[in-house]
Symmetry: C2
Subunit: 502 residues, 2 copies
């Protein structure tokens, strides 16, 4: 920290700690050592440096605000307002484009968290979640009421941490169609795939342990892994799946506890693992003795004539922990998913689930069980897929029609996302800002790596947009890119190459 | 590990790792170095020692089973079965009572996890959860259907990670009756109090950080804290609340990130913090700069004429993070609770919530919002309280009537639990085993401390039993205790004293 903030606190003094801090900073401000317009040290940073609770610093800053020496800006920090000349302040806003990005990122984060503060009229290629008109609300309402008639108060009792047994039965039956054999004893119900990722990490990872992930990868998983103190190693993904050669080089350097992958229409790239990549990664798992966490939320959405099966269906030696989400093909708000692991892991998994939220809503589990037992899930998925396929076709056609030819992408064989790459050296964070001005929203590639390093690529999703929006949006996006490539050509920065050197 | 298991594994060999391990152990068994009946090293332990994945050891042991050299017992381990004389095996079952305890604990754990494999006819004083006949199912069914009519598919979209805004509004309004002032911006919706404990820990604790807890305390919280690598310091609780003198001594030795307490009818003791303890702990929080996590699931259940308010209602300086559960007073299966923290913590909290399960079911949040807005919650709580009060009175009267006079307890002023203490030196784990034989279930005190140290005290809950069961159960419990005190008098072991020396 800047040494001027340094202060020796004395807990035995009659003056509360926060006042001791505030008085010290006040003296720095009035003496001019901290300049008008200058940002005060971030709360957590100062708290860590002085070894006090962040609340103490908050209270100190609040006191400074009451004294009209400083003011706080939401999401930004606390700034010194005590000043003689008001012009000085403007020098702190270093760079307009950076500032814009910061503000808009905050907005974006809200969206990705499922928050819906998107301004009307915006075309949302950021969301990979189905729009509510696709949900089978009427059918689900019927099963909800059937459950209440049948189970009454028991629908709202505590439920087993492993999950409502009949639901585990009907899931074991249902996933036969995925070529996966399982039993109710091997199924753990979770409150969505994100929780599955979190509890698997809780069970398997100690701080400092190593996890291999695809590059790029799902931000929510990255966040769960880092919150448990894992060390992440990124393995590039190619259109035929994770780069096995590069992976084996890394495996010789260090052994991961597990490799986290999305073999079917990967997020964000949409890439599908080829048969030989599937075979290869299972062999590596045996050879180097690691587990594979397969996150499957899109295997149902193959748009070719060939059905796609999860990697778990090839897993002879129980190397794959399978996490299945229904958020993209059924309803994200259901918050029910499941996980299949090695029988040996269940005691720890149940313990981890229990200490996370005790159990998933028994009421919703019972309703979902009934829904599955009615056998209408396959036809619901078929009709959802038809709608997605239309949107996919529209986006593919529009991209081919409008995009400048220097823009590269590999059309995915299914799923909900296109992964589009600007020429090397361009930063898709900047394009993101430009597109927002045109009311086009997408997710820049920096969102999909742990250090949020800018990359030339970005993710376009068609899940939440209709035909007209897609056509209009892609045309406008293409125009913006054309201008962007010219205007930003002198702003190109040497970005880290996406595929590491081999 | 025992050195005989030591083996140098060679990943480059053609023999898979699990076979290398299995062959080595096989040679130990046939040579007699590992004796018939002997338990093989636990899977995780051997895996850690050999630095291989547990699955590899599982496969090795499975191979030994196929070779009929060993067999596994559920929940116990893998034992060598290859033998000449079958009598040797019996020597391994060291102590019948220990074994019984182990088996029954497994059973008990199932119960506390909300699993319902309790044999019929048992009187369940272990469960502190309301029985389903107390739930307002009819009213809740109405609001569920109203929500579906009103919101249709939107009820099953992703929801904001902080929680459905109207629900946060109606909660801010509702908790005025608890003398707590808050705003929708300061409320975080969580999938039950257990999740609140987990995400607060995620936000505040790094491995090695210190947390103070009451002794005894809630097992689910202890489990969440230890899973995050926290160091726990236990502060004894007295009938008037946590022991502040002892706490201050400990505070001079180390500073906790927070103190986790249940000031209103603490779990498991039922004790209520006195006004001076409430005042004292808030003062200590200021003086020594720590946060207080208040877990409130029972403040509604005061059986005296005086209304009890959460500690949060006295909190002037935002020192208290308030976690409110409705599981005991409404329906445990709802899996909706909320948390109020300092405004400065929300970014981190939302991040932690998002990486845990993205959001709590929006459908159930919407229904609960409507339920609160109808204003029927207070009358529901009143009628639940009346039923609980009857059960409380019955249990208190039965305890007074039947218990031997050397058994001590302080009748709680509310809540759902009695904390009963055997004379010093007796181990309530042993009483637990004896009572199970009489079909009486309770929770021994060892369950409520991190090291599961046996203690003389145990928890009796009346939430899930009716008047007849309570009368019959307490009479039978009292008889069992009388016999127990005699039969086990020579088995008394010097247990750690419950209230530490000051």
């Amino acid at each position: 920290m800047e040494t001027k903030y340094k202060i020796k606190l004395d807990a035995s003094k009659n003056l509360p700690l926060y006042m001791q801090i505030a008085e010290h900073i006040k003296s720095l401000i009035t003496s001019g050592e901290i300049k008008p317009g200058e940002k005060l040290l971030p709360i957590r940073k100062l708290a860590a440096e002085l070894d006090v609770n962040p609340i103490t610093v908050v209270n100190a800053y609040k006191y400074l605000e009451e004294q009209e020496l400083a003011s706080s800006r939401v999401g930004s920090g606390t700034y010194v307002t005590y000043r003689k000349s008001p012009t000085e302040a403007q020098t702190t806003a270093s760079n307009r484009s950076n500032l814009l990005l910061e503000i808009e990122y905050n907005e974006y984060n809200l969206i990705d968290r499922g928050q819906i503060r998107i301004k009307p009229g915006i075309i949302n290629f950021a969301s990979a979640s189905p729009s509510p008109e696709l949900f089978p609300v009427k059918e689900f309402k019927n099963v909800l009421n059937e459950v209440l008639e049948r189970d009454k108060g028991f629908a709202f009792s505590y439920q087993e941490s492993q999950g409502y047994y009949p639901l585990r039965e009907s899931i074991a039956e249902y996933i036969h169609t995925y070529n996966i054999k399982s039993s109710p004893e091997e199924i753990q119900i979770i409150s969505g795939a994100q929780q599955g990722i979190d509890i698997i990490t809780k069970v398997l990872i100690k701080p400092g342990d190593c996890i291999f992930i695809e590059n790029p990868s799902y931000a929510g998983a990255i966040s769960a892994f880092t919150s448990r103190g894992a060390k992440l190693v990124q393995i590039p993904i190619n259109p035929d799946g994770i780069d096995l050669n590069y992976m084996e080089i890394k495996l010789k350097e260090q052994r991961p506890k597990f490799v986290y992958i999305m073999p079917c229409f990967q997020n964000p790239t949409g890439y599908l693992y080829s048969p030989s990549t599937r075979k290869g990664i299972l062999e590596l798992a045996e050879k180097y003795d690691f587990l594979i966490i397969e996150d499957d939320h899109l295997s149902d959405l193959s748009f070719s004539y060939e059905k796609v099966y999860p990697l778990k269906s090839d897993d002879k030696n129980n190397r794959v922990v399978y996490i299945k989400s229904f958020s993209k093909i059924f309803m994200p708000g259901l918050r029910i998913a499941f996980l299949i692991a090695h029988p040996d892991m269940y005691n720890d998994l149940i313990e981890a689930k229990h200490s996370s939220d005790i159990s998933t809503s028994g009421f919703l589990q019972r309703a979902f069980d009934l829904y599955l037992r009615k056998g209408i899930m396959p036809s619901h998925i078929e009709s959802t897929k038809r709608i997605y396929k239309e949107r996919y076709d529209t986006m593919l056609q529009s991209l081919k029609q409008y995009l400048p030819e220097e823009i590269k992408f590999v059309p995915p064989a299914g799923g909900l996302n296109f992964w589009i790459c600007l020429p090397e050296g361009y930063n898709s964070d900047n394009l993101y800002v430009e597109c927002l001005k045109k009311d086009i929203l997408f997710v820049p590639g920096s969102f999909f790596n742990p250090s949020q390093t800018p990359v030339p690529c970005f993710r376009l999703s068609f899940a939440a947009t209709n035909k007209q929006e897609i056509e209009k949006g892609i045309e406008s996006l293409a125009k913006t890119i054309e201008i962007f490539l010219k205007e930003y050509s002198d702003l190109k920065t040497p970005l880290p190459t996406y595929i590491p050197f081999l």
